[in-house]
Subunit: 156 residues, 2 copies
């Protein structure tokens, strides 16, 4: 999508993303090696009764869905951050995740007319309609009007 | 560290974590396949003048450092979320990242005496002392006093 296509109130959905145990373990071993993310047997005795994905993995999955569906081929070039993240329920192997993005605000930076600012809320749910992620992100778009601008290169 | 060892005002540092291009590309291809994270040549023409890591990868690196240094062997079992995330500057291949955690609040849940709540701020910097991440997280600890509790299992 191009920056000009976003408007406040717009709702975009992407997914499903199928989560499997191998990926949960691989992510956790690299970035969040806590036993309830890395040891399926031990995790059966945890408060959640089984292996759960790292919250950062959950975020990565939402990002992947939105990158493929929305940001691919856009002028997106960075994010300054997020207003909040909530992980209301855990992601588990076998889950099929769908993300819903609601556009909250679309504007051009006052100080920089070539910078588009998108503020949007992402909510991700599993197939039981249980919410596993809720966040509010700001994304920046490069509106430099040059045909040679990298912002118009196709995403690989 | 055990939950009882945390106190407000405590500062904990961990790192450095050496970032290389292969890892930046691998993470981005899986979770954030935008061209400025996945294509080193095209990224030279971006606003940042070179390949930058996904912000989610930056978070994963901070998590890994804190998991190894602080949460390993603790009663940590989950996080309900984060108050905010800021990515003030990008992470690049070649960076050596160090995270500093400042404990903001340590308390036992009013409604659940076996749940410890830790609120802490993580700030990560590169070797030039440039801040690449700033977030405030809440972490939950299982204080169930049972020797068979999974909270006292060693991390794998």
């Amino acid at each position: 999508m191009r920056f000009s296509e976003f408007s406040a109130g717009m709702v975009i959905t992407a997914g499903p993303y199928a989560v499997n145990e191998a990926e949960v373990l691989q992510f956790a071993k690299a970035y969040d090696p806590q036993w309830f993310h890395t040891d399926p047997e031990a995790a059966k005795e945890s408060r959640f009764g089984g292996l759960i994905a790292s919250g950062w993995h959950t975020c990565g999955i939402a990002m992947r869905l939105m990158a493929d569906k929305v940001l691919h081929g856009s002028e997106s070039f960075a994010s300054p951050g997020l207003a909040y993240i909530k992980w209301p329920h855990p992601v588990r192997p076998g889950d099929a995740l769908t993300v819903q993005a609601t556009v909250l605000e679309v504007r051009v930076a006052r100080s920089q007319p070539t910078m588009g600012i998108l503020r949007w809320r992402w909510q991700m749910r599993n197939a039981h309609d249980t919410e596993v992620l809720d966040l509010e992100a700001t994304s920046l778009f490069d509106l430099t009007p040059s045909p040679a601008s990298p912002s118009v290169l196709p995403a690989p």
